[in-house]
Amino acid sequence: MTTIFGIPSAVLYGQLLLGLINGAFYAMLSLGLAVIFGMMNIVNFAHGAQYMMGALVAWLLLNFLGIGYWWALLLAPLAVGLTGVVIERLLLRRLYKLDHLYGMLLTFGLALMVQGAFSNWFGSSGQPYAIPAELTGGRNLGFMFLPNYRAWVILVSLVVCLSTWYVIERTKLGAYLRAATENPMLVQAFGIRVPRMIMLTYGAGVALAALAGVLAAPIYQVSPTMGADLLIVVFAVVVIGGMGSIMGSIVTGFLVGLIEGLTKAFYPELSSTVVFVVMAVVLLIRPAGLFGSKPEAAAGHQQASLSAPAPSARTQTLVFLTVAACLAAAPLVIYPGFMMKAMIFALFACAFNLIAGYGKLVSFGHAMFLGSAGYVCGHAAKIWGLTPELAILAGTTTAALLGLASGWLAIRRSGIYFAMVTLAFAQMIYFVALQAPFTGGEDGLQGVPRGLLFGLVDLSRPANLYAFVLAIFLGGFFLIMRLVGSPFGRVLKAISDHEPRAQSLGFETSRYKLVAFTLSAALSGLAGSTKAIVSQIASLTDAHWSMSGEILLMTFLGGVGTLYGPVVGAFIVVAMQNYLAALGQWVTVIHGLIFVLCVLAFRRGVVGELIEFWHRRRPASPPADTARQTPAAAPAE
């Protein structure tokens, strides 16, 4: 057998062909995402769920109506596309003028709801779906056995992708669409019904996802979670290709499939991470992606910021003291274990808010700081036998260094691209956490000792531990509060409002951003280290990308850019996790519902809305309505 770099050539060709097949799915899914993003500026996080719905509808059609694969290929995308139209009409339409983040949160919430409801109805392990009789069997290519169905998938995918590209880039309808993206008002003035066109575009994008789902049904298990993991990869594909670039996403889809195939031949363990490595490299070299032309298109518009003026230093201190007193007294009525966990997450959310709220750099990789600090702290306490404060210091330092290194690269980008670069780094850290021997893989680092603080105070006593966590939280929070009010915080805010203006005033903006990012990383690390000591375990959960998503949700739920918002958000989410745990699958649905409601009704988050409401009630305050129109008036502190 001939070998190439030590791999039998037959296996290598086989892997490349399989990569191409996977690439066909990536291409179709990323195409839908790219169409939706390009035409509507919505980052459709429900795409994975819609892919799953396509597969599930095909299964339903077969099992309840006896309608087979060929009709399902047509009917399922239509049905799912129709739900997409309804979603656009009722929900998404309200978000077009807002930051991408809101669209992302809303669609993510929808995805959670669909996923939760479906796993309640159909069970989690999935349903079988047979390959249609016409396409069973396969042929031997000499180096591998190619099932006919797989060949069919490549064929369909190519046809669908290329015709979509043709419609958008080469027909009159496509020209209208592209024009409407550039200038909707003008296009409307020519008598073209832009809202309807956009609605149908979203429906079409969703239908593409559903079509991919039907194609996937005979290959994978049809299960409610089938789209969840795929989404993040497909998202990376879109970013590598260049957001909104149709051809880019098609070519990159196949390309990523091939790269994964190669990785599987040489180093299979890395195959699920390699796409993020590619993404990081591409974004650092070509910020707009391989085929993208305008990186600015992906920068955010405006966040719903507050019009209320900042409270005085005196009020601030008073509020801080009240909160501290409440937290100190809380264990008398509330279970301390819950309080400690909530405070740790609150600190994490505040740290995240420092960069996301005040610096307007929304990171999607903060889990790497929480996770890596937890591992280092746990390892230091358990294996090296360090006292808790030194172990925590070790964890925090690790996170800070990691923040410095990743921040140095990431702050060159902004908006969605910044989020994606941080995600890429976080995925690499996750890979390390999974592979490194000292982390214990998915078993986690078990039995982290709580130890004696400064060699004196026994942290295994609940009262001592609570006081310790309280002190860390209040310390961290106080630091952030002072930081935000300091000249440093004001410069940071100036940069996030208008970077060129800040530059022209003589500030070295990138240095400020880097310092803020590193601080945020260090404080996240402090939370992660404390978490390892308190829960006595450091696990993969803390390093997984869903943790980055969770902290984002906490912060936005509570109120981004407000001082107490992240704290409130963290308490709400942790409380849901803890006290709704008995509801089983429905928790996911409730979670999703809350995010949808939050985006639709409390866009400033709970605390943000409260502050706003308070100031509107006060007669002396300036008219809130006019202030709301201008973006980024002074956020409350």
Binding site: I219, T273, P331, K341, A581
Partner: protein
């Protein structure tokens, strides 16, 4: 400001100390807190919720009801929660149950990371852990606990059994596809040792990332290796995807045998008989075995619309045994109950003459089953041919080789 905080802290510390004193005072009673409370900590919404999840909660509730609803005159209460496969959430719930909600025993616990953490927690807080779902042998090995028991299966029983049976029939070359995390590594190690010990040969291994969407790429080298047996040292969705795709790529048609150590009837149901037929593996329990198992399964099915998996039946059996031990010991103090559990034989529909060893391993007969052809299946859920019964002493790791510190050598 610092002064205020300091005073508050002192008040808080005093209050907490008083609270813990109060709890210590009650522990001397016969039944602590006047209730026997069992918490079912499981995966209610994730990819393994069909093999345990809500069905495990139901099984525990059935056991409590069948026992009569009370033990030593005190009510039995069953609660359940979803750990979301997040270790910190799982441990957090377990800790809250124990510290705040009077829970005496924790049952099921899918996910080895959470199970190991619960083992530690229950050891420290003197509560009972009834593990039905986790497969890691550490629970009865390095991490064994006097109050922890592992009921249904473990990676050893499920990897070694099929290896012996296969090699006996002359299928002596193996290719192992391993899930790239601790569970898979442990399975791979145990299987490799068993293959060598029985005179077989491992011709290759490959590791796939957890949650890989496509496993055909890992089947390809296995197919090319011409090994007689392909072992899937993985579980859940990854395993079912691998089996489905092995079919698609003509692996089984080409004469290679597939074996999946950790497989349950819910997986077979999800795959469907046309795809799953012919696979053989070790099961801890099969509902359609005798009248007793069918009687339980029928009641279970009425509530759940699915037949019980071995894990769910194991929850029933372990909870029942735990309650019997409380009755016999006359207390719900964890150490006394655990000692009693190790003393009493386990005799119910799940296990005949099952014996709980000092390392916490419940030793019972296992079944070597093979999935039926669609034509042979006579009723819904009629899925297995039982090829052989593996006696408990052979199925599990001999006590002499146990790494558990509690085992006297």
């Amino acid at each position: 400001m610092q002064l205020t905080a300091f005073n508050l802290m002192r008040g808080l510390a005093a209050a907490l100390c008083l609270g813990s004193l109060g709890m210590a005072g009650q522990a001397s009673a016969q039944i602590s807190d006047d209730v026997v409370k069992i918490g079912v900590l499981t995966d209610m919404s994730g990819q393994w919720s069909d093999m345990n999840g809500p069905g495990s909660l139901l099984a525990a509730q059935m056991a409590a009801a069948d026992f009569g609803g009370t033990v030593l005159g005190k009510p039995i209460e069953i609660i359940g929660a979803d750990h979301l496969h997040k270790a910190d959430v799982g441990v957090g719930i377990a800790r809250r149950w124990i510290e705040n909600e009077k829970v005496d025993a924790i049952s099921d616990v899918t996910n080895s990371a959470i199970a190991l953490a619960v083992q530690q927690l229950t050891r420290e807080t003197n509560r009972v852990a009834l593990f039905s779902s986790p497969g890691t042998t550490d629970l009865t090995g390095k991490q064994c606990s006097p109050t922890g028991v592992q009921w249904v299966y473990d990676n050893y029983s499920n990897a070694v059994g099929p290896v012996k049976a296969l090699i006996d029939k002359g299928n002596d070359t193996f290719f192992i596809i391993t899930a790239d995390f601790a569970f898979g590594h442990s399975l791979e190690k145990i299987a490799t040792e068993a293959i060598k010990a029985n005179g077989g040969k491992v011709v290759g291994t490959i590791r796939h990332p957890f949650g890989a969407t496509d496993l055909s790429a890992f089947l390809l080298p296995a197919q090319a290796s011409k090994a007689k047996v392909i072992m899937l040292a993985t579980a859940g969705k990854d395993m079912t995807t691998a089996i489905k795709q092995a079919n698609e790529f003509g692996v089984t048609a080409g004469g290679q045998i597939l074996t999946a150590p950790v497989m349950f009837i819910s997986d077979v149901h999800a795959l469907g008989l046309p795809t799953a037929q012919g696979i053989s593996f070790i099961e801890g329990f099969y509902w359609n075995q005798n009248d007793e198992t069918r009687a339980f399964a029928k009641r279970f099915f009425e509530a759940r619309k699915a037949m019980p998996t071995a894990l769910q039946a194991g929850v029933y059996s372990s909870v029942m045994h735990y309650l019997k031990a409380i009755q016999a010991a006359g207390t719900d103090e964890a150490k006394a109950v655990s000692a009693k559990m190790r003393e009493l034989p386990v005799n119910d529909f799940f296990a005949k003459n099952g014996k709980l060893r000092e390392d916490g391993r419940m030793v019972h007969d296992m079944l070597l089953v093979q999935v039926k052809k669609p034509s042979e299946s006579k009723a819904p859920w009629d899925y297995y041919d039982v090829l052989a019964t593996v006696p408990g002493e052979q199925a599990f790791l001999p006590l002499a080789q146990s790494e558990c510190a509690l085992v006297k050598k």
